[in-house]
């Protein structure tokens, strides 16, 4: 197990080096200039050139990359051009919201997706199953921004149950902040619940035809025990994989939802950084998200052994 973990961590290092190169190139290849954005539309080319020199953006790309690589090695991702603070601090400040939102969204996805998928598998071929399949297809097809805007219209504007946007009043406590995240979590969680539903259904269908399930039924165990203990437990591996990947995707993919709901999370930070061409933030955020993605994959692989004792590394 230890050797496996070390091997995976080393391969993770190689992946992260490649990511660093790609991220740097992508940020620079995209046209646009932070200096021009900072100075506004009336700035002359001379003003822009002077600010570029002050920000070090007039240096050759190789020099800029060398500096970036050196910063990564020393655990420093540089300073945001616009926020006047270290990139790591900016990302850490925004990550609380994104992690909380992703967790709540995954909870919504799991709370909806797993039971519905189980019911659909147990009632295979019935009208309930057909309805679940159609519903899952529809939910997976709806873009989260559309769901978000619809939720805002009904639950924030018409009913007034939730705020339209933001992350609470200054000094808001955890409960108030979570209240602001209910609609965004639903907007993110609903499309993902469809995916979990379909994986749960398919995995359960495989397991429910296994001999040990037939044996359990033959022993006279009640249906709920057969389905939940013998069926669901054994169907969990693919479901766990999807849940893990969903969490990873949501951490990096809540960008649109954060924009719609005006949430100052990591996704919003990335969008703003891209629009302003705040290179250190773009690079730092993408590096960290990639790292998290790789790390979550590793954790899922290790969890397999916990869920299924037959798996050994």
């Amino acid at each position: 197990m230890a050797a496996y973990v070390v091997r995976r961590l080393l391969s993770m290092l190689v992946v992260m080096c490649l990511v660093a190169v790609v991220v740097f190139i992508v940020a620079r290849v995209v046209p646009g200039d932070p200096a021009a954005v900072m100075l506004g539309t009336s700035a002359t080319p001379e003003d822009v050139a002077a600010l570029r020199a002050r920000l070090g953006l007039d240096q050759p790309l190789l020099t800029q990359f060398g500096l970036f690589a050196l910063q990564i090695v020393t655990g420093d991702l540089g300073e945001s051009i616009f926020l006047n603070k270290p990139v790591l601090t900016a990302i850490a400040e925004r990550s609380e919201l994104t992690l909380l939102l992703a967790t709540m969204a995954v909870m919504v996805s799991v709370a909806v997706g797993v039971p519905v998928g189980v019911i659909s598998a147990v009632r295979r071929g019935t009208a309930v199953d057909q309805a679940v399949i159609a519903g899952a297809m529809l939910a997976a097809s709806l873009p989260s921004f559309w769901i978000g805007l619809t939720l805002i219209r009904w639950f924030a504007v018409n009913l007034g149950w939730f705020p339209v946007s933001g992350y609470g009043e200054p000094g808001a406590g955890l409960l108030e902040r979570m209240h602001h995240l209910v609609l965004p979590a639903l907007a993110l969680g609903i499309p993902n619940s469809a995916i979990i539903t379909r994986f749960t259904r398919s995995s359960m269908l495989d397991v429910l035809t296994e001999d040990y399930v037939r044996t359990a039924r033959a022993k006279g165990l009640p249906t709920h025990r057969v389905v939940l203990k013998h069926g669901l437990r054994n169907a969990m591996i693919p479901i766990l994989t999807v849940v893990g990947l969903t969490l990873a995707v949501l951490i990096g993919g809540a960008i649109v939802t954060e924009t719609v709901f005006g949430l100052p999370g990591a996704g919003n930070l990335i969008v703003s950084a891209v629009l302003r061409r705040d290179y250190p933030v773009i690079q730092g955020a993408l590096l960290i998200i990639s790292g998290l993605y790789v790390l979550i994959n590793l954790v899922i692989d290790l969890l397999y052994a916990v869920v299924d004792p037959r798996i050994r590394y």
Binding site: V30, A36, L39, G40, T41, G160, P163, S165, L269
Partner: protein, 516 residues
């Protein structure tokens, strides 16, 4: 036993007497500021330094914290703000002496003095795009007896007063130590009716009423006159999504939602508790042409393009509702101090046949006209689509390049990369502040006729003759067609009916505004 009654009576009498005395001293009893005014803005400002950038959003927010020597009133005439009176202009327009107000306090409690003003102006001359315009004609700036600021210019420069009043790239006053600090501003101490309390990027900017604020005298009018912070807190909330800004206004979460697409007015109409705000004047859409390089460096070809395009069609496609635009050629309409129709007599008369003749005369042989546009501003994109069609109808070959805004802003500085671009310019009351008047600005309009007309206009501070001189400059503008001004358009905002005292303005301000 001693009765308490006489003592209570004495205390009450003293209290009444003190209140009365206070009223006599201040002239009026001001109610304590109450409530929170939440304003949804189009995004996070790129900076909170109003000198260093001309971004409108920065000016909108920071004008509550920082103040200039002059301000524009409702008729766009200059009125003193931190100045004590009109500038005294001598030596044939080359020396401007500006008296300074006394009793003005900064947010750190210190009193504004001549040295603070001098240091602030020096910083403005060095870092502001507008200040640099003044620096080019400046011989010396100094303080006279600590009570007045004196500009000594190399030549007469009439726009100086307007430049000292503008709220972005602004000549704001700050303590000497802050003005002389190296690098970007790190503290934001001004003299405004609100002071900065907290800035959480992409979340909010909180300002609170400044208790020691010293208001300028006179009736409130536009950005000038009496200023009073009537709300305890002013909170700007960056909300880049326009639908979210609208829904926030409809739900009551935002008391003012800025810059909404005009088609949203239908959703605001009739909704309880919310009302639409149409901001007039607001901006001019421009199709800037490259006067320096490429096929449009040829003035005859630019005029051919001018003839090929119908501004009304472009405006209708962009805004849909005539309530939000006007097909006006002149920059300044009836009632404005600089109103003039000179040069704009044939504005809007699209004539494809004439365009073809002019293009042929210019030697046009079907070279693609590279037009940069962006979907980030939907109305500009729609205008560019109409322009593409009308130019093709007139025989031009068009290469419409749809870019994100940051790319367009970068590319426009390279004259080799484009022939025309779509942008807009927020209304400015002083023509010399229009970016395209600057020969170094993208478009590079720099001809002897323009330079002579601009020089004559900038040298004359007399209001009665400036309108004529501006007419001459406008005439050159339409004849040389360096840029096409596609009429003017207005902006839509939404505000709560709880809000009182709000005046629509291109850069909305919230002093003198209260919340019921």
């Amino acid at each position: 036993m001693t009765s308490l009654r006489p003592r209570l009576l004495a205390a009450a009498s003293l209290s009444v007497a003190l209140t009365f005395a206070g009223t006599l001293m201040t002239g009026t009893v001001l109610a304590a500021p109450t409530g929170v005014m939440t304003v949804a803005t189009i995004g996070e400002p790129p900076s909170l330094d109003p000198m260093s950038t001309t971004a409108d959003l920065v000016g909108t927010i920071t004008q509550h914290v920082f103040e200039t020597l002059y301000a524009f009133d409702a008729n766009w005439t200059l009125k003193p703000l931190l100045a004590a009176g009109e500038p005294v202009v001598t030596d044939e327009g080359k020396v401007w002496t500006i008296p300074l107000r006394s009793g003005v306090k900064f947010h750190d409690g210190s009193a504004m003095g001549g040295e603070d003003v001098l240091a602030s102006v020096k910083r403005w001359l060095a870092v502001s795009p507008r200040g640099k315009t003044v620096a080019a004609v400046l011989e010396e700036v100094s303080v006279v007896d600590g009570k007045a600021l004196r500009f000594t210019l190399k030549k007469p420069f009439a726009p100086l007063g307007s430049l000292l009043a503008f709220n972005n790239g602004a000549a704001v006053m700050m303590p000497k130590a802050q003005a002389e600090a190296e690098g970007p501003l790190k503290t934001f101490i001004g003299t405004g009716p609100f002071r900065l309390v907290e800035h959480k990027p992409d979340q909010y900017i909180r300002l609170e009423a400044f208790a020691d604020y010293a208001s300028p005298a006179g009736e409130a009018s536009g950005y000038a006159g009496k200023r009073e912070a009537k709300v305890a807190e002013l909170r700007f909330v960056p909300t880049p999504n326009a639908v979210t800004r609208l829904e926030g206004a409809l739900s009551g979460q935002f008391l003012y939602s800025d810059a909404l697409p005009t088609e949203m007015k239908a959703r605001i109409n009739g909704k309880p508790g919310v009302k639409p705000v149409v901001v007039k004047p607001f901006a001019w859409p421009f199709m800037i042409m490259n006067n320096k390089e490429g096929s449009l460096a040829n003035a005859t070809l630019r005029r051919a393009i001018q003839s090929a395009l119908a501004p009304e069609d472009m405006l209708m496609a962009a805004f849909g509702d005539p309530e939000f635009f006007a097909v006006n050629g002149p920059f300044y309409g009836k009632g404005a101090a600089l109103a003039s129709t000179k040069g704009a007599e044939t504005f809007g008369a699209a004539d494809a046949a004439k365009a073809k003749v002019l293009a042929k005369g210019a030697g046009y042989k079907g070279e693609p006209i590279r037009i940069m546009t962006s979907t980030q501003y939907d109305f500009l994109y729609k205008m560019s689509l109409v322009a593409q069609q009308q130019l093709e109808d007139a025989g031009f070959k068009v290469d419409l390049q749809v870019l994100d805004w940051a790319t367009l802003v970068q590319r426009r500085n390279d004259p080799k990369q484009w022939d025309a671009l779509f942008t807009y310019h927020t209304f400015v009351p002083e023509p010399s502040l229009i970016t395209i008047m600057n020969p170094a600005y993208a478009g590079w309009w720099d001809t002897p006729e323009k330079a002579a007309a601009l020089d004559a206009f900038n040298s004359d501070a007399n209001p009665s003759t400036r309108a004529v001189l501006w007419g001459n400059l406008q005439d050159v503008f339409f004849k040389q067609a360096p840029t096409l001004k596609i009429g003017e358009f207005y902006s839509l905002a939404a505000t709560s009916e709880k809000v009182e005292g709000l005046n629509p303005a291109p850069w909305p301000y919230f002093w003198n505004v209260s919340v019921k």
